[in-house]
């Protein structure tokens, strides 16, 4: 039990270093992603950062539900009406100029907000083109994103992560591990000026570039940022020996968490799920035929020592990540689907408050105000003498309503167990591919769940990228048990999640129905089948249309029973070629 404990200590030491680096120059670093659940550890870390920053640094929290107009600034309605001319209000991004902003629950932030944050970080300014306003404001800030994602499917948007120099993970650090930083704010600001005078030797740059190449990191932005922090770390460590320690820390803080592959796969490869490899290799073959062997001895040494110092559980997590990293994660799953006040085709106006993201229809608003002008003029004359042409009050506001077609998500649940794989996995894949093509034509989103062995796995969160769906599917290996009930449970989760986002959901299950693994992992066919049927009944309560495709060689009762428990359409594959399958799917799900 000693091992993980020192591991956690090391994690915390890294976190301290991250805080110090960030505090040295927040806007230059861009930001830190802190992956952790809320709790004393995270709070301590945030306090540490605050303590290390100069005292008057602005410290602004951005809530997950922030509206675009609050973030960027927009029309200040009260002032606009008062002065009879458009008055802009300052957005949060502008307010935290030269300061630090904290994005809470970053994994839930909508795509639009993420995009604004990215462009503000990139250009160190905010450009406003909304609601008849046009503005430009400089703002440079450091962003701390608090990522509370639990598993690998949840996390902050890749595009934002790419702009944050440091990624730390506080999972596994307990309160007992916490120690203080031995630096204070004035030492940090001293380090800042020292760091800017330090030149990074070319070998160091070269090592960082080569390492990021070896770890399969594509983005040159990441390299640029690694280059920024290596200088700061070197100053902070204040050891005269050389750059090796600074490089190793930089790799740990900035590069390793983004690795899409590990250079020493053989020594660290036991628990890697077998299906991760084909994908990885395919990716590598696509992009870089011969790069993994190119790493030079010095870099190899450094990288090796970095890896050796990592706590084992982090390494395991990393491996999962490297498998996942090939997929662009869309954070927050954008609740954008049916925001009928914002997008789609206009369909009339209604009274409402334009600040809640709806669009003001000026003409309708003025029209609503006209009948009251006389009354209002009389009333207000006694109060003030300001010359106002039109008196508009809050209740006159008319906002535009839009109609938007809800998006459709089709969830494919593919049985990749041994019993299925033996006969027909490839046929099933073919059928799914055809249906995918249909989804593409309809611009539907697709999600992919596969189940085999002991558990079901979400291979692909809802996406429009058909390429990814296809890639995941073709890389799917077969074999193992049939954990049907786990798969159905995951399907329920997915359906619920998608429904919450306002999408229309359909699902297609491809299985032979011969469940033999229960939810708790025990074997036994009868119990497993019973359990699956039980779970199926709760699927039926959801508002989703389903299709069960029987992939067994001979038609068998199991999947038919499953279909009736699900209240889904049953279709045996033996009698269906891929084309009629896709026609049936279209008829039943569209």
């Amino acid at each position: 039990m000693n091992e993980p404990n020192t591991g956690a200590k090391n994690l915390w030491l890294d976190a301290i270093l991250a805080a110090e680096v960030f505090a040295t120059d927040p806007s230059f670093i861009g930001g830190v992603r802190v992956r952790s659940l809320p709790g004393p550890v995270r709070e301590t870390w945030l306090e540490l950062v605050q303590h290390l920053l100069p005292e008057d640094t602005k410290w602004r929290r951005i809530p997950a539900h922030v509206s675009e107009s609050r973030l960027l600034g927009g029309l200040d309605l009260a002032a606009t009406l008062k002065y009879g001319r458009p008055v802009a209000e300052t957005g949060i991004l502008q307010e935290c100029d030269n300061g630090v902003s904290i994005l809470a629950m970053a994994e839930r932030t909508s795509r639009a907000i993420i995009a604004h944050l990215c462009s503000a970080l990139d250009q160190k300014s905010v450009t406003l083109e909304r609601e008849g306003l046009r503005g430009y404001a400089k703002t440079s800030f450091g962003l701390i994103t608090l990522d509370e994602g639990l598993d690998q499917d949840e996390g902050i948007a890749a595009s934002l992560q790419d702009r944050l120099a440091i990624l730390i993970d506080l999972h596994g650090v307990s309160v007992n591990d916490l120690i203080e930083s031995n630096l204070n704010a004035s030492e940090i600001s001293e380090a800042r000026s020292k760091a800017s005078n330090l030149t990074v030797p070319e070998e160091v740059t070269r090592t960082l570039c080569a390492t990021s190449e070896a770890l399969g990191i594509e983005s040159s932005r990441v390299m640029i940022m690694a280059h920024r922090i290596v200088r700061i770390i070197k100053t902070l460590l204040a050891d005269s020996s050389g750059w090796d320690n600074a490089i190793a820390s930089t790799i740990r803080l900035a590069l390793l968490p983004r690795a899409t592959r590990l250079p020493f796969q053989d020594q660290a490869d036991d628990s890697l799920p077998p299906d991760a490899e084909p994908i990885d290799q395919e990716e590598q073959a696509d992009t870089s035929p011969d790069t993994s062997g190119k790493i030079e001895p010095m870099q190899e040494q450094i990288l090796e020592s970095v890896l050796a110092n990592l706590p084992p559980e982090l390494l395991a997590r990393l491996k999962v990540q490297s498998h996942r990293a090939s997929q662009a994660r869309n954070a927050g799953k954008m609740g954008q689907m049916q925001r009928s006040f914002k997008r789609g085709r206009p369909m009339g106006t209604m009274p409402g408050d334009p600040r809640r993201g709806a669009r003001l229809n000026l003409l309708a608003t003025l029209r609503a105000a006209v009948p009251w002008q006389k009354v209002r003029a009389e009333k207000s004359q006694s109060v003030s003498k300001t010359q106002v042409k039109v008196r508009v009050q809050r209740e006159d506001f008319r906002v535009v309503r839009f109609r938007q077609r809800a998006s459709t998500i089709t969830i494919f649940v593919v049985d990749a167990s041994g019993s299925s794989a033996l006969h027909r996995l490839s046929e099933a894949k073919g059928a799914v591919e055809l249906m995918l093509a249909d989804c593409y034509v309809r611009r539907d989103q697709v999600a992919l769940i596969a189940f085999r062995g002991n558990s079901a796995e979400l291979l692909l969160p809802p996406t429009r990228s058909l390429l990814r769906a296809k890639r995941e599917l073709s890389a799917l290996p077969g074999g193992g048990g049939t954990p049907l009930s786990s798969a159905l449970e995951l399907t329920i989760q997915m359906i619920e999640r998608s429904c919450r986002e306002g999408a229309t959901v359909g699902y297609v299950i491809l299985t032979d129905g011969r469940a033999n693994i229960s939810r708790d992992g025990t074997q036994g066919r009868e119990q497993a089948i019973e359990e699956a049927l039980e779970v199926a009944k709760s699927v039926r309560l959801l508002d989703a249309r389903g299709l069960v495709i029987d992939t067994s060689q001979r038609a068998n009762r199991n999947s038919e029973q499953l279909a009736s428990a699900l209240d889904a359409v049953y279709l045996p594959l033996p009698h269906a070629d891929a084309n009629s399958l896709s026609a049936a799917a279209q008829a039943n799900l569209a």
């Binding site: 995009a115 083109e129 800017s196 570039c209 990021s212 093509a437 058909l466």
Partner: protein
């Protein structure tokens, strides 16, 4: 404005740089689509492009960037207004690169009722939007695949007709809006609607350079830029200026560039071999190779020019099997070999 990283200091990415220059020479090519991974310098290149834009005569103060030499069927609201008419000042100015920020509302893009005038003076006046500002220049959309659908619709319509028709809030106004659409995005975050895809004349895919030396160079240049931005920008400005003059020269020479019948035939053969829909592919092919010839200072287009531009012209026009990921580049190359050799 915060300083922009100079275009000429961007390492590698030759395809993207060439495509952008060709569009600046010959706007009728129809825009550039840049697709690639995060952090490959897409936005940096396009933002840097503003410094390379050629200078052309323009009516000063006109919100629609009027060209004084072109008599238009529909006179400009600004230049024809009694205050201005006959007194327009004309000066060579750089063509604009207008950034369409994400989250821009429709009224700011296509233009809308001037809120200030409406509230203050009770007057119905039109306030031109981004499309007016982008007239004759470039309109840049970052993350083009994340653009909201109704904005895409509005853009497509205007891009196709070269004219912005505003019918909203009691306004009825039309003004010219001919712009080159430049879009960038990451294909993993969503695919582009086919209608929009077809609108782009050229498409390039960018990748991070693979060799360590280029990567090191990228990081070092960026570091220099951050350390002393003014000095860095001053050093590279000359190179940017050289490119700009090349573009200006090519712009004035392009009308003289001849296209031999053999080249036209080769272009047609190429498009037939690839089965591209419509004539847009051939037209763009010819226009792009002509721009390339002009850029190289040649008097006539040869097949080598055709060969250079063919991938970026045709890559996104192939009728695609949505499930076939095998590179369209390979198909273009194969067709090139068959029809040109």
């Amino acid at each position: 404005m915060t300083s922009v990283y100079p275009f000429s200091a961007i390492q590698g990415q030759e395809d993207m740089k060439l495509a952008l220059q060709l569009s600046a020479i010959e706007p009728s090519i129809g825009g550039v689509l840049v697709f690639g991974d995060r952090g490959t310098g897409k936005s940096t290149a396009i933002r840097g492009l503003a410094a390379l834009m050629p200078k052309v005569p323009m009516v000063l103060g006109c919100p629609y960037n009027c060209d004084p030499d072109v008599s238009r069927p529909d006179p400009c609201i600004y230049c024809e207004s009694p205050d201005v008419k006959g007194k327009q000042k004309v000066k060579p100015q750089q063509l604009p690169v207008v950034d369409l920020p994400l989250g821009a509302t429709e009224d700011r893009v296509i233009g809308a009722l001037d809120l200030e005038k409406a509230l203050h003076q009770g007057e119905k006046a039109f306030e031109p939007g981004l499309l007016a500002r982008a007239h004759r220049g470039f309109l840049y959309i970052d993350e083009v695949n994340l653009l909201e659908d109704h904005l895409v619709d509005a853009l497509l319509d205007v891009a196709a007709s070269g004219e912005n028709v505003v019918e909203r809030e009691g306004l009825s106004i039309r003004h010219p809006a001919k712009f080159v659409l430049v879009g960038s995005g990451n294909p993993e975050e969503g695919e582009l609607r086919p209608q929009l895809l077809d609108r782009f004349g050229l498409s390039v895919e960018v990748r991070t350079p693979k060799d360590i030396d280029t990567r090191v160079k990228i990081v070092q240049l960026r570091d220099e830029f951050e350390r002393d931005t003014t000095e860095f920008v001053r050093t590279w400005r000359r190179k940017d200026g050289a490119i700009r003059r090349k573009i200006e020269k090519a712009r004035s020479a392009i009308d003289e560039v001849e296209v031999a019948i053999q080249v036209l035939e080769a272009a047609a053969r190429l498009c037939m071999a690839l089965g591209t829909d419509g004539l847009r592919g051939e037209l763009t092919l010819v226009r792009a190779s002509r721009a390339l010839a002009a850029l190289a200072g040649k008097k006539a287009v040869d097949t080598e020019h055709l060969r250079t531009v063919a991938p970026m012209v045709l890559r996104h026009r192939l009728r695609r099997d949505p499930l076939d990921e095998s590179g369209s580049d390979i198909r273009v190359q194969r067709a090139l070999e068959e029809s040109l050799d």
